[in-house]
């Protein structure tokens, strides 16, 4: 069982590399090195802030775009190329296929994030000429970004298990945007009455709460992140990804592939 998942995951990773997904690292490197050099000349006293803010924002956005656009095609592409039938004719269960795809995509994003993190630290060293203890907080922001990726990967897979790639991309991206407003949605629910309140509260808990994962600004100001938040975000991301993956498995198990 484990072997099947690992096999599908490693194949997904290899396929992503073959599809030149990691080429985005070149764009990232150019963006970061350009910003590090340029900002010092056109702004005042924010070189380090820009490197951290821009670097981590780029890691996050590049990853989210990859998670959505690769994630939505993971199932549909296999059906389109008819390779899915070959896979499923072997001793591989449908749920293993979905879980394997999830880990493959997550692995791709972790590797991508690792190389981008090297770029962020290199740019930081270029503008500061040294590292300070507070720079270690960047690892926390990177960890939260990876947790975000897990949620988005699982959502992309969920949508791709029953919808077309285009609609899946729209759904996943919309959920990312709505998830950024999750706290506003909860505030709105608190102010509403009757059925609206129930519906809004339900929606607020159902959409992923990405605002809790975004600590980039506070980390740029060297403000520490509470250990409790790290723990709660970890548990939340695991629960959410498990929920979305379970939904994907439930749908895919019942899907007529003929």
């Amino acid at each position: 069982m484990r072997t099947s998942i690992a096999y599908i995951a490693s194949n997904t990773f290899r396929e992503a590399v073959r599809d030149r997904v990691l080429y985005n690292l070149i764009a990232f490197a150019l963006l970061l090195s350009g910003a590090a050099i340029l900002v010092g000349q056109i702004s005042i006293e924010i070189e380090k802030l820009v490197v951290i803010n821009l670097g981590l924002t780029a890691v996050s956005l590049f990853g989210i775009v990859i998670a959505i656009f690769i994630g939505i095609g993971l199932v549909s592409k296999e059906i389109e190329k008819r390779t899915l039938y070959t896979v499923l004719s072997r001793p591989v269960r449908r749920w293993q296929f979905i879980v394997g795809k999830f880990f493959g995509l997550a692995g791709t994003l972790v590797v991508n994030t690792f190389f981008m993190a090297i770029g962020v630290f290199a740019a930081l060293f270029y503008v500061s000429h040294k590292f300070v203890k507070a720079d270690a907080l960047i690892f926390v922001a990177l960890y939260f970004i990876i947790l975000q990726f897990l949620i988005i990967c699982s959502l992309s897979l969920l949508f791709s298990s029953f919808s077309t790639p285009l609609l899946s991309a729209i759904f996943a991206f919309s959920l990312f945007v709505i998830g950024s407003f999750a706290e506003d949605l909860r505030n709105f629910a608190a102010m509403a009455h009757g059925i609206t309140r129930w519906l809004a509260t339900g929606a607020a808990y159902l959409v992923p709460n990405f605002s809790a994962f975004n600590v980039i600004t506070s980390i740029a100001h060297e403000q520490p992140v509470a250990g409790r938040l790290i723990l709660q975000n970890t548990v939340y991301a695991l629960f959410y990804a498990t929920m979305a993956l379970s939904g994907a498995v439930l749908i895919f198990e019942r899907r007529d592939l003929k």
Binding site: S43, I44, I46, L49, V50, N53, F181, F210, T217, Q223
Partner: protein, 307 residues
């Protein structure tokens, strides 16, 4: 030459020619409408809306808006602009996006408060910006210092300046000179020594080279103001004793038993005009001086001063 090579050569030439053509046409269009600069446009002006639109990446958005504010101020300051309509909104958006971006308050108040051409001449907006900064960063004594500075220098509200320095002095780890400044405001507000003390404190407490340079420029200007005031009094005394004006600065120095000819901070001797006014030799050396400048003096405008 094979067919494929021909296509490669033709496509390559077309690409380069088209690229050059685009640049050339754009250049011609710029000449047609030289005033069509986008610097007076703020498409989104609501800080709350911009914060929402940033999808949580508000730190980066704040850096972008701060850079835009710096560019906007720098461009208009360079051309001695009389109005800075977008400066306050840009700074307010920046502060709203990242309330802990201290540089936006520290520099922002010095952009907003001084009268043109040195600043936007909007000290009240500077006070509002600083008050928001203090509200968001109550433990930062520098912000109290900067706010008190605006009250003293630009609004001449010595009572408010005293209160602000006093409040700042109560912040944990505040620099002791805030207490001294509060006392100074209460006793000697408006005097040359107080202004000198404020700029000296600014010079000593900042790490930023540009703020240090600005403080030096103001200290030099204060020295010019003080020298000119004293020399002008000496000219009046000379006139009372002799019934005429001194012929030159050397005659005045001799009459006043000065150890040498009075020099400005650049090392140039002061001069006395035929009307008896004491002036500096090169007014452009002291952009912040309020005395010792020719009555019709205007800073030398750079090209495109109509901006």
């Amino acid at each position: 030459m094979t067919s494929q090579s021909k296509i490669t050569v033709v496509s390559g030439i077309l690409l380069v020619v088209s690229l050059a053509g685009i640049s050339f046409v754009l250049h011609l269009e710029d000449q047609l409408r030289p005033q069509a600069t986008p610097d007076e446009v703020l498409f989104l002006s609501s800080p709350t809306m911009i914060k929402r639109a940033s999808l949580g990446y508000d730190g980066l958005a704040a850096c972008i808006y701060w850079t835009r504010a710096v560019q906007y101020f720098g461009y208009r300051h360079h051309y001695y602009a009389a109005s800075y309509n977008l400066l306050a909104p840009l700074l307010e958006i920046t502060a709203h996006l990242d309330p802990h971006l201290l540089v936006a308050y520290e520099f922002g108040s010095s952009f907003l408060a001084p009268p043109p051409p040195h600043g936007a001449g909007q000290p009240q907006r500077a006070v509002e910006l600083m008050q928001y900064g203090i509200q968001q960063n109550p433990g930062n004594w520098h912000l109290y210092y900067d706010l008190g500075f605006v009250y003293y220098m630009d609004l001449k509200d010595y009572k408010k300046a005293e209160e602000t320095f006093e409040r700042g002095s109560q912040v944990p780890n505040a620099h002791p000179f805030l207490k001294v400044l509060a006392a100074q405001m209460a006793q000697h507000a408006g005097e040359y020594d107080t202004a000198k003390m404020l700029w000296s404190a600014t010079y000593e407490t900042t790490q930023d080279e540009q703020i240090k340079e600005n403080a030096i420029e103001h200290l030099r200007a204060l020295r010019v103001d003080d020298d000119v005031a004293h020399l002008q009094e000496a000219v009046t005394r000379f006139g009372e004793h002799t019934g005429r004006l001194p012929a030159n600065i050397a005659e005045l120095a001799a009459a006043e038993h000065l150890p040498g000819i009075p020099l400005d901070p650049e090392g140039h001797p002061y001069k006395i005009t035929p009307e008896g006014r004491v002036e500096v030799r090169v007014p452009d050396d002291f952009p912040f001086a309020t005395r010792g400048l020719p009555p019709d003096y205007k800073p030398v405008p750079t090209p495109h001063s109509d901006h």
